[in-house]
Symmetry: C2
């Protein structure tokens, strides 16, 4: 088999990673992540796709308890504001959820986007200027999957004002913070997304999210209907 | 080994996928993608992380030559505008690049973001409203990696005005088109990103993109310098 081909086992390993990736908030262990492993995670992120091969990302590694505490304070402020936006019952449910592991996780990583990384005109970004932000998001997702395959949990903290990240991490105005991530080995991984386990929201039926030739285009051929029927089944197991 | 643990082979399969993923524009073969495989790609996308488990994505599958031709016309218009934005030499280089395989690829997929999918208040999106867009981008990246492991090439067409996608695909105003993707089996995959092979832009040294405790924070400890030294080496081979 050529090195460019994938065996069924290799393919299934990818699906296993994708299906078992979780947003981790509560199961972090204090053991540090070895440099050898961290280097692999960062290489995975650095090999994300980027518009015009712009590679707009930077990686800020945070291990200082003092910095983590300041970030956590900023989370608490944003989270108090957020809780007020839900109706009564939902607000009670919201307040019972654990939504971050900033201080407990041994490593935090802020992934950013430098919108001027490749000069004023970037191939592929002339009509969709947000493509650089999306490139940094792809780096996040690569790192997240790599972490899962290394047995490391990742939680994405989005309940924080970007201004707080700029201030605490001394990030210049032209740089956009994309993701603030908490990383660490975990006691275990949940077998479903935590918000599903805790009955906040359920997974949508995939067959209702697929359409043909246009927005909400219905199936016109037996093969299209067969695809929808297939998608209505639970996903294949890769264990 | 528990089903939640990953073997070294499984981990290496993920890294192989990440390192060998390419943005494909020119090597598409006409063979259709079987429904069984397409269903796996869509399940992979649907298992992306999403803010507040919002799952804001929809998947528009386009096989109609007529629709593809209209999309291609919209690409040609946007690409002519784009070429004018580069300086003389760079514009010549730009015009020699093949940047899309819309008509040749057997399947196009438009992945969108419904900003109202989970109601007006979404957990985790109250302070960073763009998190829903980022969730759909994670779905794109999951699908892209799954495709690579299936031997299927993906190209992301960003040189097109979103208004054209709205019009041709009848996408309502409140829905954001995130990615227009071309998919198909390929004659081969390049061993480097195409823009690097064609000397448009080179990969940046990862060690220059990593900092400590804050923006551009220099290493303060021997271990931090050791990490940078490690990142300055080429990534490990997973072949």
């Amino acid at each position: 088999m050529s090195q460019y081909q994938f065996s069924a086992d290799e393919r299934d390993a990818l699906y296993k990673t994708i299906f078992q990736r979780r947003d981790v908030r509560g199961e972090f262990l204090p053991e540090p992540i070895p440099d050898e492993v961290l280097a692999r995670l960062l290489q995975a992120a650095h090999h994300a796709p980027s518009v015009g091969f712009m590679q707009p990302w930077d990686f800020l590694l945070i291990r200082s308890t003092e910095v983590k505490r300041r970030i956590h304070q900023a989370f608490l402020r944003a989270n108090a504001e957020a809780a007020e936006q839900f109706d009564d019952q939902r607000a009670l449910h919201y307040q019972r959820l654990k939504l971050e592991g900033i201080v407990e996780s041994p490593l935090n990583i802020c992934i950013t986007c430098d919108r001027e990384r490749a000069g004023p005109v970037v191939l592929g970004r002339t009509t969709m200027p947000e493509m650089d932000l999306y490139s940094s998001v792809c780096a996040v997702q690569n790192l997240w999957l790599a972490a899962r395959a290394e047995g490391i949990g990742v939680g994405w903290v989005s309940i924080i004002h970007p201004e707080a990240l700029h201030e605490i991490l001394q990030i210049p105005d032209r740089i956009v913070p994309i993701a603030y991530l908490c990383l660490g080995y975990t006691s275990h991984f949940h077998d479903q997304p935590e918000l599903q386990l805790k009955r906040w929201r359920q997974r949508l039926p995939l067959s209702e999210l697929v359409s043909f030739e246009r927005w909400q285009g219905e199936p016109q051929e037996p093969q299209q209907q067969a695809l929808l029927d297939r998608l209505a089944e639970p996903p294949f197991s890769v264990d």
